[in-house]
Symmetry: C2
DNA sequence: AATGCAATTTAATCTAAATCAAAATTCTGA
DNA sequence: TCAGAATTTTGATTTAGATTAAATTGCATT
């Protein structure tokens, strides 16, 4: 399996805005522009470069590979591929999922700009998940062996990567608790609030955002069926806590949403 | 909150074998003997020292603190305590859990000899869980700041600790899948098989072992009630897949147990 | 050995969410 | 612009596992 597979599970199309304009113009306006160094990247305060100084960022810059954008449905890697790199989302979003023997997929994570993908492969040297773009997206690839070498030179990079991995562990354990004891409504409210703060983290609106994933993706992630997710969203809307318009979500009463999961 | 709290949730007692014999004899026979260096520890092939050479292990030995044994119910640390160390189980077993607002506990993990506890605190600098001994147990404490310093000197230690954390991430994601799509019977079978291979890993029998935790702990961990856990164990026994006698488990038909979760 | 509490099992009932079925809506590409 | 596909919603029914209740077993302390 090639590390870069442009085929999609679902039929995809090119982004109209891009294919309709000449290349040079695209370069200028494309929000997924690959020619951005870590030092000038708007995410450098929350991605790997955090806690590095100018000259250290320059060293990091040299090992980061900025691939061309991924189309919706493109795979970053597939389950069982050789582990080579971790990835930082620059723009767009991704989902990780595993396929069970009976063909059913289960989503194990969603990734927004600034977040790191692929750490599940570090121990076994093979990715445990498949990971796929949910929309037109761009990525920084960080070859792990080089990240390790650089971490030997830069104590603050080592420290920060330990923290990134520790954060992933803490987050995964929160999800463990959520799945083992929350009701469908509590899970959904928690999910919406979680997305909200992640959007806020990348300077997007925490009260009004577009879901990059389907109801089915959400269901697989939260251990619910599509129908239940849909019903819960409708119910939360009827209660006046949120406004749903297809993929667009508006959080009308964040305090009440917190109350939903209040006792947990 | 002190880092070492000898009080228990449940009333506990001293281990008869120990309190009934004079100190000097205890030192000799106690399986939780604290005076074992990493180099002579029987777990050194699967704990932190793995992949280190003799002189490197000696450096590690110097930062490891070998505390006196923990009694059943003693806390290693509590939720929200300042993060200072990670811990390697030397003997016995531990559980991590979080308390919800309504007082309900949810178990987030079990730890057997050779396994590393406390990585959930690395990012936030506060432990996200409480962790408590399930039986008379002993621990090696590894102050994290010293582990970081040593990892700067020893590339293979850095590499190995990245792997340990990556392994934790991969395991947590498997549990995510388990909780979001497995039935009660599948979860229980998977749990029993998982314990089996972990016991095998420390050279204990993979087909006959004692559960260190209660049915309630198992239920909290698997997102099931005690009653369901009990019923499923009884059902698996009736089907001839296992033999249950209180805390003692014998796996009679491992292949059939694998079949239970076969399609997943 | 006796006592008392914690842990486990068993049984009856209930319920949240799954499943099944189908209609409505949105997206996609020709 | 439109047809077909995918996604989402809605409703009726079923069910796995929760809840409630009680009996039983195990184990620590007296």
């Amino acid at each position: 399996m090639s590390p870069r597979d442009m085929s999609s599970n679902s039929p995809t199309v090119n982004d109209n805005k891009i294919t309709m304009k000449p290349q040079t113009v695209v370069r200028k306006i494309c929000p997924h522009n690959a020619n951005v160094s870590c030092s000038s990247c708007r995410l450098n305060e929350l991605c790997l470069p955090i806690a590095l100084n100018k000259s250290e960022i320059h060293l990091l810059d040299e090992i980061v590979e900025r691939n061309r954008p991924y189309k919706k449905g493109d795979h970053l890697y597939r389950q069982n591929d050789d582990f080579k790199s971790v990835y930082a989302v620059r723009s767009g979003s991704f989902k990780s999922y595993v396929l069970s023997n009976n063909g059913q997929g289960r989503v194990t994570g969603f990734f927004l700009p600034g977040e790191i993908i692929g750490m599940d492969g570090i121990a076994s040297k093979h990715y445990a998940n498949s990971t796929q773009a949910l929309e037109h997206s761009s990525i920084c690839e960080i070859p792990f062996s080089q990240l390790e070498k650089l971490s030997q030179q830069l104590p603050s990079l080592q420290h920060h990567f330990f923290a990134i991995m520790g954060n992933e562990i803490a987050k995964d354990q929160q999800i463990h608790t959520l799945l083992s004891s929350y009701t469908a409504e509590e899970r959904t409210a928690s999910f919406l609030l979680g997305l909200s703060s992640r959007f806020a983290h990348v300077a997007l609106s925490p009260i009004r955002y577009l879901l990059p994933m389907t109801r089915s993706d959400i269901g697989e992630y939260l251990g619910l069926t599509v129908e239940t997710v849909s019903r819960i969203l409708t119910a939360l809307q009827r209660k006046g806590l949120i406004e749903v318009n297809n993929r667009e979500i508006e959080l009308l009463d964040i305090e009440a949403l917190r109350q939903v999961i209040g006792s947990k």
